[in-house]
């Protein structure tokens, strides 16, 4: 019995992976067509990005402030408090910025995407489009996917800037590190390689989360329960994959 269940789960997993793969290929094809409608994409950048701005900025500020306190605590043990700027900048650019932004993005924008598309499916809106000879892949799915892919790196960049400001606030404002030392250390420590790593990560996370969110909404059972389950799956899968891919990408950039 348990063997059969295990086989069933495995088979279901493989099937789901295949369905997502096919969906991704169709989504890419539709995305090319969707580029001809910049208005739809801009609206989705606002939906996914603009509406996540406040929580991203708040989270960035507090993350930076915590970095300031932690940096001071750890670095002073080595008498290296002045290195706070470079610690905060590297931590934010390479890890905390892309990863925390991705997790927040999955919770805020990913869930909104899944539930919106799921409800459109449940209320026959996607079918109605098909019957009106409008492909919902290029009208609904692709602009949302592209919006997410574009919005995520922008959000991560804003997170980094605000985070660095938070670390500065604590380090320079509260703990008395010299402002000039803070910034000159930061400037000399951060190289193009570090910035590239952050950008690549945030683009990859944005693409993966948007793909998961759009796919879950599109494939979900068109019922209240089905949309709820799909939304939960979006958060779980996005979070786990973000952390997993973060390890892979970090290793690749070493």
């Amino acid at each position: 019995m348990s063997n059969r269940v295990r086989h069933g789960t495995l088979l279901e997993g493989v099937r789901k992976f295949g369905v997502t793969g096919i969906f991704f290929v169709r989504l890419l094809a539709a995305s090319v067509a969707a580029l001809a409608r910049p208005g739809l994409i801009v609206a989705q950048i606002f939906n996914a990005g603009g509406r996540s701005l406040i929580i991203i900025m708040l989270s960035g500020l507090f993350t930076g402030m915590v970095l300031g306190l932690l940096g001071q605590d750890v670095l002073q043990r080595f008498g290296a408090e002045t290195a706070l700027g470079q610690l905060a900048a590297l931590a934010l650019l390479k890890q905390l910025g892309p990863v925390l932004t991705a997790l927040l993005f999955a919770c805020r924008a990913g869930t909104a995407l899944t539930s919106e598309i799921g409800l459109m499916k449940a209320t026959d809106q996607l079918t109605a489009m098909e019957v009106m000879a409008v492909d919902p892949m290029s009208y609904v799915a692709a602009p949302r996917f592209l919006g997410g892919v574009i919005a995520m790196p922008l959000l991560a960049a804003i997170f980094n800037v605000i985070g660095l400001f938070g670390a500065h606030l604590i380090g320079v404002g509260l703990l008395g590190i010299d402002r000039g030392t803070f910034w000159s250390n930061t400037q000399s420590a951060v190289g193009l390689h570090d910035v590239t790593e952050g950008i690549v990560k945030s683009v990859v996370f944005g693409a993966v989360i948007s793909l998961i969110a759009v796919n879950e909404g599109y494939q979900c059972e068109p019922t209240a329960e089905g949309v709820g389950l799909a939304t939960t799956r979006t958060v779980v899968a996005s979070s786990v994959l973000t952390l997993l891919l973060d390890y892979v990408l970090t290793a690749a950039f070493m």
Binding site: T123, D124, Q125, T127, V131, M132, A133, V134, D135
Partner: protein, 276 residues
């Protein structure tokens, strides 16, 4: 590319021939035959779960028959490429049971949606077109409301305006009378008749509201058990000797169409130790 207009009833716009279709091994249709003639209102009736909505999905090419042939405008739907299916869909309109309006845009934009997607008409022409269609369904004043602000009957009328905005040759109605108050129901009935008479739109109405359909349908088909059990004018169906037809027309729980889902013996289950 509109075909030359022809007299009502002289050719089949939709022809369903010996169609078999099953969902997860459960047969929905087993040898279904339906012929919808141009310019007429054809009613497809049947109890819930007889696959009436599935039939509409077969006609619009969202599903394909396992066996048999579904022809629309003389072409086998299964043999068409996706762009050809889209071309067929541009000539048809469909009214969904719940309206299926796009919830993120207002009433005006919903009606304008197919026009914007399929034509390059200037904004002033689109505006006139949309307002004309909204006036036809009595909702010109609601143009700037969002779908969430509409009642069920209003949403269905907006959906009807959207379905006719591209001047389709065929209109498919999926359960258009469900859950409507008497006034909305009367309005929808009149609109279906008007669309048919004034614009010559061939109409396929799928419903189980026998009395309402009888007042407007030119031809009707009664589905049961995956095939057509009776066809003819509503008057002919009313006079039919068939037990199935009689049961459906009178709404009786007793008859060939089983009301009860298969279950073990009632008394035995109540008195016995059987846990089901």
């Amino acid at each position: 590319m509109q075909p030359a207009p022809s007299a009502p009833g002289d050719d089949a716009v939709v022809d369903v021939r010996d169609v078999h279709y099953a969902i997860d091994g459960r047969p929905i249709f087993a040898g279904l035959n339906i012929r919808v003639r141009r310019g007429l209102i054809t009613a497809v009736m049947g109890p819930s779960g007889t696959g009436k909505t599935t039939l509409l999905r077969l006609i619009t090419g969202q599903l394909f028959a396992d066996r048999g042939r579904v022809s629309v405008f003389g072409r086998d739907v299964a043999s068409l490429s996706s762009s050809e299916i889209y071309a067929v869909r541009k000539r048809t309109g469909m009214l969904f049971q719940n309206g299926a309006l796009l919830t993120d845009i207002d009433v005006f934009e919903n009606v304008a949606f197919p026009v914007r997607e399929h034509t390059d008409l200037p904004e002033s022409v689109i505006r006139k077109l949309v307002l004309t269609k909204l006036e036809a369904v009595g909702l010109r004043g609601a143009a700037r409301l969002m779908p969430g602000e509409l009642s069920g009957g209003m949403a269905r009328r907006v959906a009807l305006a959207r379905a006719i905005v591209m001047d389709p040759e065929v209109l498919l109605y999926d359960e258009p009378f469900v859950g409507l108050d008497p006034i909305s129901l009367g309005v929808i009935l009149r609109l279906i008749k008007q669309m048919n008479q004034a614009l010559g739109i061939t109409s396929i109405v799928v419903s189980h509201d026998v009395q309402e359909l009888a007042t407007i349908a030119d031809e009707s088909y009664l589905l049961s058990g995956g095939c057509v059990v009776a066809s003819g004018t509503p008057q002919q169906l009313a006079k039919s000797d068939s037990e199935t037809v009689h049961q459906f027309m009178t709404g009786s729980a007793e008859g060939p169409v089983k009301f009860h889902y298969p279950a073990p013996d009632y008394a035995g289950q109540l008195l016995g130790a059987d846990e089901g």
